[in-house]
Amino acid sequence: MSVFITRRVLQSLVVIFVMSLLVFFGVNIVGDPIDMLINPEADQEDIEAAIRALGLDRPIHEQYWYFLVNALKGDLGKSFIFAEPALKLILQRMPATLELAFTAMLMAIFLGIPLGVYAGLRPNSKVSKTIMAGSILGFSLPTFWVGLMFIMIFAVMLGWLPSTGRGDTTSLFGIQVSFLTWDGLRHLLLPALNLALFKISLVIRLARAGTREVALQDYIKFARAKGLSSSRVVLVHIMKNIMIPVVTVLGLELGGVIAFAVVTETVFAWPGMGKLLIDSIQLLDRPIIVAYLMITVLMFVVINLVVDILYSLLDPRVRLKDVKS
């Protein structure tokens, strides 16, 4: 097991290294580093001072080294607009985004899996067909448009839920979270559901396909032949088999959810990293873009690593094969 983990961790480090190279060279060669890292509206003196401070007059490999060292220290440049370290700004907003993303994932799991399994067990019932039709809609509807419709219907027309912003927050282990307050939950519901819709549809389709395939297998028939109750057959025998592909896909999609939060945050004016990114793109606040990129790379690599480890825990065939190697 530890052989497996060590190997995956090493692979992840390689990926992070490669990505840092890409980001660095993307900034310095594709874009103009002076525009990217120094505010072009500063006066000439400041620009030259900054060039020297950032080492932009040095040879490129030294610059890269400088960049790497700074990154490890936590310095990824200063925002033009806010005049604060970019990293700090992003980290401040991260809890809001993560809260949104995790709530959406939880919705995808706890709504998507039961609905999908049901549709897989009784593929011809009216309820199943409705579920599948709904999943096609959820899959096809662009997230931002659904968000707009949610606001139209639930906030403007019906007035049940607030239309924008994040609710009251409380502190949990030093991080600001909003799901512990009632107001916070009211504000969280629509954006999370909006973000989750695509994933819920995905999970429903996966769970249904998996259930249909597994339900036909001999070992399910054998389980019934042993006289097991149908709830045990479904909850233990079928579920454990479909969990593997579902978890894999969900885990890989977590990164996608965090990225796609950009859209939901824009529609609902949710104060997360994504909104910061969009604003920064509009305002050409490039250090934030660079910092966002690096943070995101790190996050995705970690997520992929965790998913791989989880996968090996769930599927004994994978885990035990590695022990021999």
Binding site: D218, Y219, K221, F222, R224, A225, K226, G227, L228, P316
Partner: protein
């Protein structure tokens, strides 16, 4: 229906296909199937997988249910336990288990019987055990589904049964996953699971077909031994006559969804009555002479979707005649010896 039999047939008792066995015999039967019909309602039409099967198994007896692929033998096995998946369903006939009618029994009662009074062993050991669950989980759940015992007690029982089927070091095996075993070992585990709750009847659906010949022989021997010891009735479904010859007490031959001949094993194999049985025995390689072309039954099994009227074997039968267009009668020759034919081979014995 009158039978136009050729040659002297002592003690020929004729009856229609829905035969009623003598009451005394029925009382001793663990299982008595009478004119079972299981049909599959597909988009292409109705597939009559089982189209009138009758046989019985008594306590401690081994019955070999023999037939080629598509003869309906597996579906018969599933029908007994109510495991026929849609679009199939049991549409007629009766299955009496220890006097109790199983056809139409509600699901809860059926579930009580499955795995505890009647157990089943499937053909492909690789797909029978759930690959993501441990062996002990899969065995303990089979016990706990039928009786309230502690996990420790269930584990102890599992260990005991694994030893009985010839698996050394059961503790290690219990903690393992199915893919860590060989095919023969997996099938032994499946047999062990069948034995856990001491059933009165075990239905084994071609359990050794997917295994090596050497393992096959071992498992056959052990299955026979276990049944003798515990008095469990066994229905061994197979297409291989040689397997049946060494193992079974009685044999029932199936063709195109019907039982065409049954009786004591030695009697049927030495003196087959039905032309199909005759052809089947004749085509076993060891029965043929070296250097001569292998005997085959000409033609192919009819499609179960469009069964020809009358005798389904008609088109391939060397003894077929005009009357075979009608439903052939069941000809009885004393206790438990019958054939479904207009022109069975003469019964020479006695």
């Amino acid at each position: 229906m009158s039978s136009e039999s050729q040659g002297p047939i002592p003690q020929a008792a004729e009856s229609s296909s829905a035969s009623v066995a003598p009451a005394a015999q029925q009382a001793g039967n663990t299982l008595a199937i009478d004119d079972l019909q299981t049909h599959f309602f597909t988009k292409a039409g109705v597939v009559k997988a089982v189209n009138g099967v009758s046989f019985s198994v008594s306590k401690g007896e081994v019955l070999g249910l023999v037939g080629e692929s598509g003869s309906g033998k597996s579906v018969t096995g599933f029908s007994i336990l109510g495991l026929v998946d849609p679009p199939g369903e049991v549409v007629g006939g009766s299955i009496r288990f220890q006097g109790r009618e199983l056809v139409g029994l509600d699901e809860t009662a059926m579930r009580e019987i499955r795995g505890s009074r009647i157990a089943m062993i499937f053909q492909d050991p690789m797909m029978t055990l759930n690959p993501v669950l441990r062996i002990d989980t899969q065995m303990i759940e089979a016990i706990q589904a039928h009786s309230r015992v502690s996990r420790a007690a269930a584990l102890a029982r599992s260990r005991e049964v694994l030893l009985k089927v010839g698996i050394a070091s059961p503790d290690e095996r219990l903690k393992s996953y199915p893919h860590q075993f060989s095919g023969g070992m997996r099938q032994r585990v499946a047999i062990a699971i069948a034995l856990l709750n001491e059933p009165d009847l075990i239905i084994a659906d071609e359990p050794t077909t997917a295994l090596d010949v050497t393992i096959q022989a071992q498992i056959l021997y052990e299955a026979q031994k276990l049944c003798r010891e515990t008095g469990t009735a066994l229905i061994w479904i197979t297409h291989d006559l040689t397997v049946v010859a060494g193992l079974a007490d009685r044999i029932c031959v199936m063709y195109a969804g019907r039982d065409v001949e049954q009786g004591e094993v030695d009697d049927v194999l030495d003196h087959p009555l039905h032309p199909y049985t005759y052809g089947l025995i004749g085509s076993v390689p060891s029965r043929n002479r070296r250097g001569q072309p292998l005997h085959q039954i000409p033609g192919m099994t009819p499609s179960l979707l469009n069964l020809p009227p009358g005798c389904a074997f008609r088109n391939r039968c060397p003894r077929a005649a005009q009357e075979c267009l009608r439903e052939p009668p069941v000809v009885e020759y004393g206790e438990n010896r019958r054939a479904r034919c207009f022109h069975p081979y003469p019964r020479d014995s006695l």
